[in-house]
Chain length 260, copies 4
Amino acid sequence: MKKKLFNLFVLLVLFLSGGIVNAQDTYPESGKMEPNMSEFWLPQPEIVTPGNIMTNSAPSDAIVLFDGKDLSAWVNSKDGRSAGWTVNNNGTFTVKKDVGDIQTKESFENFQLHIEWCIPKDIAGSSQSRGNSGIFLQNKYELQILDNYNNKTYSNGQAGSIYKQTRPLVNAMRPPGEWNVYDVIYTAPIFKDDGSYRMPPHITVLHNGVLIQNNTTILGTTTYIGFPKVVKHGAGPIRLQSHGDASKPISFRNIWIRKL
Amino acid sequence: MKKKLFNLFVLLVLFLSGGIVNAQDTYPESGKMEPNMSEFWLPQPEIVTPGNIMTNSAPSDAIVLFDGKDLSAWVNSKDGRSAGWTVNNNGTFTVKKDVGDIQTKESFENFQLHIEWCIPKDIAGSSQSRGNSGIFLQNKYELQILDNYNNKTYSNGQAGSIYKQTRPLVNAMRPPGEWNVYDVIYTAPIFKDDGSYRMPPHITVLHNGVLIQNNTTILGTTTYIGFPKVVKHGAGPIRLQSHGDASKPISFRNIWIRKL
Amino acid sequence: MKKKLFNLFVLLVLFLSGGIVNAQDTYPESGKMEPNMSEFWLPQPEIVTPGNIMTNSAPSDAIVLFDGKDLSAWVNSKDGRSAGWTVNNNGTFTVKKDVGDIQTKESFENFQLHIEWCIPKDIAGSSQSRGNSGIFLQNKYELQILDNYNNKTYSNGQAGSIYKQTRPLVNAMRPPGEWNVYDVIYTAPIFKDDGSYRMPPHITVLHNGVLIQNNTTILGTTTYIGFPKVVKHGAGPIRLQSHGDASKPISFRNIWIRKL
Amino acid sequence: MKKKLFNLFVLLVLFLSGGIVNAQDTYPESGKMEPNMSEFWLPQPEIVTPGNIMTNSAPSDAIVLFDGKDLSAWVNSKDGRSAGWTVNNNGTFTVKKDVGDIQTKESFENFQLHIEWCIPKDIAGSSQSRGNSGIFLQNKYELQILDNYNNKTYSNGQAGSIYKQTRPLVNAMRPPGEWNVYDVIYTAPIFKDDGSYRMPPHITVLHNGVLIQNNTTILGTTTYIGFPKVVKHGAGPIRLQSHGDASKPISFRNIWIRKL
């Protein structure tokens, strides 16, 4: 009798925790992948020397995310406190590796984003270990930042790639020490109730004025290992990645966004 | 005999007027429209003051269509001879109304186009009679040029509209005397054998760095009167329109195109 | 004093002509169109004799909208009371013209719809006056029903057209007295805050098993006169049109819908 | 001298391993994957019992690929000679495993395809080893055929999946011994000169009248191991796969195609 009661208790706990499932609901997991299985080196995008675009002030309807003075629009991604990256006195700010990623206080859906970034002139290293950072759109989908001026890496991991998904159409990098510009048009995904995409996200990117992503379909969230994942989400912040290269961190300036 | 001759005459008239077809092929024509039936004034796009973008030199893989010196990449649209518009000694050129439209010698399919245009400072007139011109993509689809700085017109006819189809998302005009920039990403249509679109053309436009067309579907060729038409075509030139305002013609500079 | 009177007169004229509103809100209206301006007869879709598909019972996850017995899933569109059309004792129901349109009680967004309809064997009339009805998706976008078996009409108004927008790819009509089947895959529009489409509606239709609309973009709500309108809306019912031909009304049977 | 010989040896080894290329063309290869890395079991599509659709004869404009009598529209994929599968005297034909795949003589681009298939009533085995076959569209993209009536497998490998890419929206299988129907609307890809997709292929599939693929983007050619590949191609045949289960082969009937 005690046994019975105990069993009932177990059943109840399982039931409340959603743990009672039919045996037939146990499924194999997919094989574990290695990072380099989703890294494709060929074809390498052609190198294009971009034209000369000067710094662009923000349109009147833009939300200025960095105006050269402070990071008040940003928080630290770990603890939600102050961003903690270094604001320089020349209207730029610089990654501070040990404090981790930063992200906008505000969340966004569809937008046009302008952002400028600069690889330090004395950058060292190769492939992914050379000025690596990234912009996570809606905190989920990474537009890669890297020094790919005379630095080869897998093409779906180079600057302007949708990281580990889609390589840029061309390589329009400026050399270290010069400022690169991304102009991004981002269309947020729309989800079905079951969490799958009714419409996946789309992205168009100009790198230094040169088209590198042309209404590219984003296949899922950025993952370092394995296939992109489809994960239901709502509005999300812009997150900037703090990645390796602590001694030679990259800098940003002139960031603004327009809701679409 | 007279009857016969008369019949022949009727047949000839019908033939010359395209009227001899099989009885079963005679269909009513659509009602004749007036120009203002496809002009929609509301909603008016919000006014956005664009940021400051400086003149942009061409990327290394671009075809330069005007480098400030001559119109050698262009011909007159009427006779295919020299363009005949006025090249100024400040790196710009100006519409010469009496010679008509000009178009590129080369034909294009999918492309990124950069083009700058300037309304004269002392422009006069209102609505469509104020700095009117246009860029015909593949010689068929017009991206409107007009002075809409403090000048209202129907919204699907203002600067940055796909003329008589789709208004711009916002009005990002600079005032007369200042240079406007269009950055255009154009996806050419693909046709079925029967002449209908398998995929219609699409267009993205930044006006002075502000998104005004976001992968907009182009519905058919630009017509001043009536609905857009679906007309099968292949590669086509970029055509610049010579339109009214002979006394105060608009100017262009810094035109380049990249095949996609 | 004369000046004042004249001003009053001007004000009166402006007022009567709708011209006195806030200065910034005064815009011309578009020209008034006639119905035949949006009726296009050519090209006429090719005639295809459909294969033999038998009546299809509903999948297990479908909402059955008519099971042959009663119209309990429907209401009258005018007053929301009982549908009022005639349920026959052979598992079909028939339009009752004087009571007007009927619509589903439930509202839908994205769906797969199966519906069968039959033109009476002794139908008379021509062009649009021959078995005219229609299915309004989300109460806004009409998929046309008409007898086009040996009956010509404007091609964007014939059976299977998105009425006054897009003609069917082919004409797969069965003759009067036989049952026609529409299998519809409908993707609801998604709107921006300003009421414009972020993604317009799309539709795929099989008519008697033959593809007649292939992921067609719907341009706006169905209007008898003028251009389609873009009108923001949420979920909406399926509405069946009561149209002309009171003496020879059409019938329906076997209607089911699956939410997507 | 010894040094020279050693160098020669190194060169030889490099040559034999494909390692002598221009230095700038040497790139790492992606990591080798295992088949189960691209097999995703969850979520499992919901089970839907399809309605009753009867055999469908071909529309008048269809190309009949199998009319119940002979395989004259097909050839063997290995040698281009006669198909070699077994035509039965009940209007069906059956896979003959040892002769391999068969494919249509004619090549296709965009099409509507109707095809019926039947798992033998006494089928045995589990997961992928149970009635496995497939339809390769344009000889490249596999729409999976399998018995998934009370047989679980990875969801992107079950009947109606775009194999190893996209699972069906639902599982609309009929039990072994009954006929399944696929109605497929296929939009061929369009390629850029560099071999990448300008527009990837798209597919809509009804399985026994139930929508299971809704204008799904096909990501690349079907591969058993690893990511889909983007491979430039033109028109291609329909290929039917001869796969395992030699003792209990599946059957087909009533196949027709309409060019779109």
